[in-house]
Symmetry: D2
Subunit: 334 residues, 4 copies
Amino acid sequence: MDRKLKVGIIGAGRIGRVHTLSLKNFVPEVEIKAVSDICFDAAQKLAEQNRIPYAYKDYKKILLDPEIDAVLVCSSTDTHAQISIEAAEAGKHIFCEKPIDLNVDKVKSVLEAVNKANVKLQVGFNRRFDHDFKKIKELIDSGELGELHIVKITSRDPEPPSPEYVKVSGGMFLDMSIHDFDMARYLTDGEVKEIYVAADCRIDPAIGEVGDVDTAVITLRMEDGTICVIDNSRQAVYGYDQRIEVFGSKGQAEVQNDTPSTASWSTAEGVFKEKPKYFFLERYMDSFADEMKSFVDVVINDKEPPVTGVDGLVTIEIGLAAKKSHEEGRPIKL
Amino acid sequence: MDRKLKVGIIGAGRIGRVHTLSLKNFVPEVEIKAVSDICFDAAQKLAEQNRIPYAYKDYKKILLDPEIDAVLVCSSTDTHAQISIEAAEAGKHIFCEKPIDLNVDKVKSVLEAVNKANVKLQVGFNRRFDHDFKKIKELIDSGELGELHIVKITSRDPEPPSPEYVKVSGGMFLDMSIHDFDMARYLTDGEVKEIYVAADCRIDPAIGEVGDVDTAVITLRMEDGTICVIDNSRQAVYGYDQRIEVFGSKGQAEVQNDTPSTASWSTAEGVFKEKPKYFFLERYMDSFADEMKSFVDVVINDKEPPVTGVDGLVTIEIGLAAKKSHEEGRPIKL
Amino acid sequence: MDRKLKVGIIGAGRIGRVHTLSLKNFVPEVEIKAVSDICFDAAQKLAEQNRIPYAYKDYKKILLDPEIDAVLVCSSTDTHAQISIEAAEAGKHIFCEKPIDLNVDKVKSVLEAVNKANVKLQVGFNRRFDHDFKKIKELIDSGELGELHIVKITSRDPEPPSPEYVKVSGGMFLDMSIHDFDMARYLTDGEVKEIYVAADCRIDPAIGEVGDVDTAVITLRMEDGTICVIDNSRQAVYGYDQRIEVFGSKGQAEVQNDTPSTASWSTAEGVFKEKPKYFFLERYMDSFADEMKSFVDVVINDKEPPVTGVDGLVTIEIGLAAKKSHEEGRPIKL
Amino acid sequence: MDRKLKVGIIGAGRIGRVHTLSLKNFVPEVEIKAVSDICFDAAQKLAEQNRIPYAYKDYKKILLDPEIDAVLVCSSTDTHAQISIEAAEAGKHIFCEKPIDLNVDKVKSVLEAVNKANVKLQVGFNRRFDHDFKKIKELIDSGELGELHIVKITSRDPEPPSPEYVKVSGGMFLDMSIHDFDMARYLTDGEVKEIYVAADCRIDPAIGEVGDVDTAVITLRMEDGTICVIDNSRQAVYGYDQRIEVFGSKGQAEVQNDTPSTASWSTAEGVFKEKPKYFFLERYMDSFADEMKSFVDVVINDKEPPVTGVDGLVTIEIGLAAKKSHEEGRPIKL
């Protein structure tokens, strides 16, 4: 490719800003040509701070720009599907934040549009690019751990979302656990055949009032016999707790939380260590950059996306089965 | 008590020897007067090595000795109940290895006999006396972790049992997981209301052929809302893996495996640490000593046993529910 | 400051490239206008890769450019002093890599020129900006550790330099230990009053043949009574070993090596962890970025440099005293 | 040996009690026949608690008992030499607590008496039997670390001794550092050729007033070129700090402090770990038992003691050289 890849950012909120910085600082092959946000001020501000030539209120202006090769869909969740379909129809490659949509049929429509237009679609499961989890994956793939028997994923947020957010987000399984479903599929390289959920509202009654849970232990039986267990909490008061352990016929591997420093200190009061990095922006910042590098590499070098539309679809299906398991108090087959 | 407590050991196998050494080395208040084993040679050898005055083939001789205050039932599992009942009827205090019996009714008979005779009965869940798990319990009891939400117990053996042993032991849930059921009850100070098992035979097909599993993830919903999750394997090739993590509204606590030393070393090949202590005799040796101190204290000072007959009964009930959940593929209420 | 700070890079070698990338990616207040290198190709290549408008063979062209506010002196060590003096005379603010010079008088000339011209001079002791060591410093400054009694610095390279490099670098004390002398002064906020060196050539006889050592334990007695001990090796086969421990009247603090991931894994062969990040570029990459941010902040906001010319001078004096102690086999007062 | 080894304990203070319990609980080949103490009550109490047949005020009664094979010299330091000489003359094998004496000539007299009588003499450097330090030694001896270059010993007490004790103990180098001198010789399997001490009184001025120090960094140059560095403090407020690191041409090894449990816990306030075991009785309890097993094995099986009289002598010489180095401010050759 002789010229730089031209990219448009749709949605100038938190994750849009993160991807903008990643592209600007770490992906020299890219030029961000335009940014849009229904809140035009946000688009304009992001454009100014990053010397992006164009800022729009309407994302369609980005789609109409023939120079733009690819778009990042970072708008609110309920707009992901519609924008992605239009982007595909406009012949743009697409990086779409997770979830594509909470409705399986809508997600399937996106996949169809993408297939028809023959554009790339990569979904925003950034944790696959995390240095710690990649190391676990490497150890599995090397065969050093043998056949996988058990996978344990701990995923706890530092603070609960507002009940308002809970309502629009699809609930904990589709908003939070979905990352862990993706991780289970990624690590085992296989599909879930059955799911069982033990969950409750233990932290914030307001979350229960809008019909959601905040604490869960989720058992996934994979097709190859691996048993995955995910434990989720919306509030780990000590910070963002993101750990994984895998156990196989030849060994075990685990990763701990990343911390701001390796310091430990001892006084008459006790022995202390650093708390985990606070939340996903701190913990996963490097993975966001690697995710962008990956997407740009996919587009420029015509590669298969490492996180596909199918990954986006299947995780939604698992999330919906999780809800059902919780509601009916029994394991659900997929 | 002016004189020493006189104790008889019934069963001179591995665990009988462990308790004999613990009593001899660490419990000066005790005198072991006799040991019995259906294999008389084993009894005689243990007696000689430890200057125990009497060795018998028949345990009834111990029960008939009016000087003996208490017995340790360390014989094979299928004799625990009968011997315990006779011991109670003979007015002996009883320390009985786990499980009391695999049959709930038989266990209940033991409890009735014990109650009727008004003797002490302590059951051999030694892990309650482990320094690491006691620390976890202290942290919970101190309130520092707030209300418990999630308890995670990892319990993996270094090598699988023989299929012959599997057949008589009652299977993994009643032989191995039973320790974890006790730990869940101990840590949460509550009862299981529902259990769900995802289990399989992944390690040794011979175990599957005799109808048992060797790999399991078990979800326990406790009456107070805590969710406990146990992961079991019959073969962790790196050694005995015994860890616990608890998570609550105010914090989290965890313990790692004990190792022979704190050494780590680094070469061109990598960075290395010690493997876990090999198996239960290495890992739990101190807990066995504390268990004996506890039992002797219970008898001498007329205290409530820290592990009661009810603890022995309920864990059997959980184990049987685990089997049922595995067989029927659904959660089982208790 | 309305406009961006305009900077020239003198020296397009490894460290020149590192600083160029740091400025470009992380310091938006800066515009790199020109780069020079006596190897013009290197200058040109760096300019092209980073869209730097001008590339020169002769650094004087940078000094003559009235638009350029500040220069980074990243050329070979023996040119640092001369270029810095000329840069000061040209009214440029200066970031100078360590060491300013191996000759104390020359360093003093630089300091005089800088003072006379009233420009900023910051010296390249990047480790002060390392996240781990900053945490140690914060713990000291917070008073949590009380009065400092002992400081221990481990600083070991992964592989020895070539004997050619050893000859021009001033030897281990002035090339490698100098970072540790700076760290000792930084952490204790004080001056060395006496130094004692136990050193030898253990790794590469060729290093001994050119009159240098490769293994050392250096004791520094600080004016306030703190005793610092540095251990240096030119070859830690497991990687770059950079750790610090401080011990005071109220407690202790330490940092471990940074690793590529937090993974540990266990197999039948043992328990493994990651090796340290390989060398200074991997380990200290973030500190280089923070160093640049700091320098730009110093210039733009007219602040006192956090690493001054005096820091550059005193560490050279300590390095020369270290050589003398080694040669004479006795402690040397400063 | 058909019968048990008969042992007499001379000195019923703290360390006498420790050895008594070790022998009783862990060394079945031994029978403790008598105990003596100039405070007869202490002897009598220890005898009663441990069913030792005889208690004396005068140690000579032990030496006169022809049945007694070996004695443990656990009396006050200033009596070690005299009692050991008499014990040798009485044909008893000797375990003598460290130091044998603070006077080199007296120590030599003991060694002569022992040689002449052809009895065993083992000196009480218990740390050689510590599980952690033995692991370090094993790693060195296996060759896995290559040639040793640097050995670092951290040895810090939890609280300073009384000035009264300091006066009679010979000072920090002969009382406390002596263990570390022994460890340096043990790990490197070699002799010190030069010592340099940087020391001060930083903790308790009363210690300085009686002419001693409480904080030190000691550099030992070994004959084989290894450089050992010991850091000592009389007061680590967080507990007994006993760590070792060794560094060689092929790798590095280190051990951390032992802790009461492996627990770590995290709350909103921070991440916590256990403090080190409090002091030498807690930390080194297992090593005391292994030390006794070793001594009894030496006597029964006519082996070379693992810690000889020469080890006792040489460490005193190093301690005296340490004092001289501190007083004269220069390295001292041995």
